[in-house]
């Protein structure tokens, strides 16, 4: 079975490793991510100003195009997932805005696509128990902290991804891979998001708190679903290290990279060169190379 797939800008460049590993794994799992034609940036933020129709046009156009090709649209990036899912729901529920948007983009989209996150395919379409049976190299002994961030979960009423205060889907995935999921209170706290552009120090501080909380609870690695989060909690570890001298960096994986290891993909195809903190020493230590 094929899934219509919207990669989003960052997965096309700075998070190629996220995109590629997802595609490779899907083939091993018996489905293909069919890339949406002529896709554009989703806008990277769902407009919270209720009168900002302009910011809805890009995701609306993506949705309308996707509807011409299928009935569901899959994303990997948590931010894209959020923007696209919320826009879809808005088009579905707000007739006035729907008409306005359709007028602008010269389409007649009604909001009837199913919006999926890759993790939802793994859980609901394949099933974690099925997935577990397909694991070739269990991630035994790897203590990994599933970091949800914000966009998968909130607003809960619209995202419907998992429990808003204590989600477990991501941990269930890690356990299926054979890893030991580290429970930590900051797993639903914000990484600082776009403040990495507005107030970088604030984002660094947010990331430090999240990493610190995970490490304190025994994590050896972080797992992310979002290139924005990954930038803040992975790439900013050098900044954290400068400010907090005793901070010990830990690698941050995209969940598809861990899926790739477990599925038996060659580690050299997992794009670790794009990770800021090198995960290879840890993987070697755990015998996962």
């Amino acid at each position: 079975m094929d899934y219509l797939y919207f990669p989003g800008c960052t997965l096309n460049t700075k998070a190629k490793n996220f995109d590629q590993t997802a595609r490779d794994c899907s083939l091993l799992l018996g489905f293909e991510l069919k890339e949406l034609k002529n896709w554009t940036c989703c806008g990277a933020t769902f407009p919270l100003a209720t009168d900002n129709i302009m910011a809805l046009l890009a995701p609306s156009r993506i949705l309308a195009t996707a509807r011409e090709e299928g009935t569901a649209l899959t994303t990997l990036c948590a931010v894209c997932f959020n923007v696209i899912k919320r826009t879809n729901r808005l088009i579905q529920e707000d007739g006035e805005k729907r008409d306005k948007i359709n007028n602008f983009i010269e389409k007649n989209y009604q909001g009837d696509l199913r919006i999926l996150h890759y993790l939802e395919i793994l859980k609901h379409e394949i099933g974690f128990s099925q997935l577990k049976e397909r694991v070739k190299k269990p991630l035994t002994g790897l203590k990994a902290a599933a970091y949800y961030g914000c966009m998968l979960l909130r607003p809960f009423e619209e995202m419907g991804f998992d429990d808003k205060e204590k989600p477990t889907l991501f941990e269930d995935f890690l356990e299926a891979m054979g890893a030991q999921a580290t429970e930590f209170p900051y797993k639903i706290e914000c990484c600082g998001s776009f403040q990495s552009v507005g107030s970088p120090d604030v984002a660094t501080e947010c990331a430090y708190k999240i990493l610190g909380s995970a490490i304190k609870n025994g994590a050896e690695a972080m797992v992310s679903t979002c290139p924005m989060c990954t930038f803040n909690i992975d790439h900013k570890q050098s900044d954290i290290k400068q400010k907090y001298l005793d901070f010990k960096p830990i690698p941050v994986f995209y969940f598809t990279q861990l899926l790739g290891i477990a599925m038996g993909l060659d580690y050299q195809t997992l794009g670790f060169e794009q990770n800021a903190v090198d995960p290879l020493p840890l993987l070697k230590e755990k015998g996962l190379l």
């Binding site: 100003a49 507005g198 107030s199 930038f231």
Partner: protein, 137 residues
């Protein structure tokens, strides 16, 4: 330090604008402070989101627009998710940004030419695109 309240001030144009852009009823806020208590960036804010709402309701436009609170909001929606009165506080913060950015002076919150060297190469698109949407007029 002193506010002279009138009915015109309680229903001030500034608060009305914020309510209109955010789609939220500021009078619904009963100042429990949950938004501030759970805000991940409150540590860096000059006043908490609940205070911003209070100030806006009382028409203290200059004071509200002068604080860093809404610029620091990362739209993580934790406040929105937990507000007992169902106020989408993140929308209120965004509305305040919009009030500033839509003024004719077009005073941007960030200046791209002032980015440090190599910054643009380092930061992913996703951060730029959303950041520009939040900080530029």
């Amino acid at each position: 330090m002193k506010i002279e309240l009138t009915r015109q001030k309680v229903h001030n144009e500034f608060a009305k604008k914020v309510e209109l852009i955010s789609g939220q009823n500021l009078f619904a806020c009963y100042q429990c402070g949950n938004c501030t208590a759970g805000c991940p960036v409150a540590f860096a804010m000059e006043v908490g989101p609940h205070e911003v709402i209070r100030y806006t309701l009382l028409g203290l436009e200059d004071e509200v627009l002068g604080v860093n609170t809404f610029w620091l909001c990362a739209s993580c929606l934790q406040c929105t998710s937990r507000c007992p009165k169902g106020i989408d506080i993140a929308r209120v913060m965004d509305a305040l940004r919009m009030v500033v950015l839509r003024k004719k002076e077009r005073k941007d919150h960030i200046q791209i030419p002032e980015f440090p060297e190599g910054f643009l190469e380092k930061v992913p698109q996703i951060a730029f695109v959303s950041g520009f949407r939040k900080f530029l007029s």
